[in-house]
């Protein structure tokens, strides 16, 4: 868009005058483009940092990953903010306050959900006092997954938001981001008791171990055990997933 050709002239003499000012030639264009440029490069952040994601957010605002170079100044007031970065777990008591602060922000405004807790509640999703994701309260434009996401990932989320603003200013359809799947976020890659691709001996030993514990968590002594069932000493090899049991060979 920058007019670098000096021989080019405009019908409007004001534009020719503008072109003579060094550096102002980039401003000549449609007013939409000017607004686009100004909006996407001055995303002032209102930090809704409630927990440890806020620390990573501070790191993103500090010297090494400097989001200030994108024009994203961090403001402590919702009235001067464009982007609300929800960084942290939002509780049931906090959610109405978040909504109130979101309503105080002037249009245009965007919301960036940073971290697993803000996206879906993650570990705390099933706890009585935590809401399952900030997108149940305010509309979220960009999801930045991670626990917590590192500063570079937050910066990448801000750049995705810039792309979204560009597309919206051009009148194009910007596909809405979807919440990352919960299973992929929190479920670790371990086999659980009863899984088919897990060593059956390991499962049985684990179940025996669990059954031998009393209600108070202490292991029962043999005269305490009503069923007379005792944990047999066995040799375990966790890595073996083939059909034959490793303890069968040692018995013979």
């Amino acid at each position: 868009m920058a007019v670098s050709d000096d021989t080019r002239t405009y019908e409007n003499p004001f534009l020719d005058k503008l072109l003579s000012v060094p550096g102002l030639d980039v401003a000549v264009g449609s007013i939409e483009r000017l607004l686009d440029w100004g909006t996407s490069n001055a995303l002032w952040i209102f930090p809704m940092a409630t927990s440890c994601c806020g620390i990573e957010f501070m790191a993103a605002a500090a010297a090494r990953v400097d989001v200030d170079r994108m024009g994203t100044i961090v403001r402590g007031s919702p009235r001067q903010g464009d982007v609300m970065v929800v960084a942290g777990t939002i509780t049931v008591k906090m959610a109405p306050r978040v909504k109130k602060l979101w309503d105080q922000m002037p249009e245009p405004k965007w919301c960036l959900a940073m971290g697993s807790c803000a996206i879906s509640g993650d570990f705390y999703r099933d706890i009585y006092s935590v809401i399952p994701g900030i997108d149940t309260v305010v509309p979220v434009d960009v999801y930045v997954p991670g626990c917590p996401p590192n500063p570079q990932e937050l910066m990448r989320g801000l750049m995705r938001l810039q792309d979204k603003i560009h597309l919206q200013r051009e009148g194009k359809w910007s596909p809405p981001e979807t919440r990352p799947e919960r299973d992929k976020m929190i479920r670790p890659e371990i086999g659980r008791v009863g899984d088919e691709d897990r060593d059956p001996l390991l499962s049985s030993v684990q179940l025996d171990r669990a059954r031998s514990l009393g209600l108070d968590g202490n292991e029962m002594r043999d005269n305490d055990d009503p069923t007379g069932r005792m944990l047999a000493p066995q040799t375990l090899s966790i890595g073996q997933h083939n059909g034959e049991s490793p303890a069968a060979g040692s018995d013979a």
Binding site: V92, K93, A95, D126, I127, Y128, S129, I131, P132, T136, G214, L215, D216, D224, P226
Partner: protein, 156 residues
Amino acid sequence: MNEAIAPLLGIDVADVSDFGMTVPADKHFALATLLKTSGYGLYVSVIATHFTEQKKSRKVPEPVPEHFQVATVLRKPVKGAALSFSWKVKLDVGQPIDSLVSLFAGADWQEREQYDLVGVTFANHPDLRRLMMPDDWEGHPLRRDYAIDTPHHPWR
């Protein structure tokens, strides 16, 4: 020290163990006053615990009714060390315990927290409201019989 304090409050020394002593609820305030006058001026914490009813079984020789236990910790700062003193109060369901706000101003929010999460009532507390949960919350979340999936509009 427990053995020294117990006769002052009329408690049998046999009830005192190494893990602190259990004080009747009506002696709670008197003990705190006595400790404060003897230098234990730092109110550290109050910990309320809920115990559900336990029937008689092989592990439980005597049936235990549902009750609460309130442990209070005071501290005496001395040079180079800090002496702590703690005692417990066993409460029945619905039985209030004396508030220590008139002795220690720092007990205000801590007792409100215990009231909020466990549901222990503190008598003579100046402002006994919920501290952490919303004001319209139903139930006390740190009770042992509190269901973790208790519905709360509009999230679950």
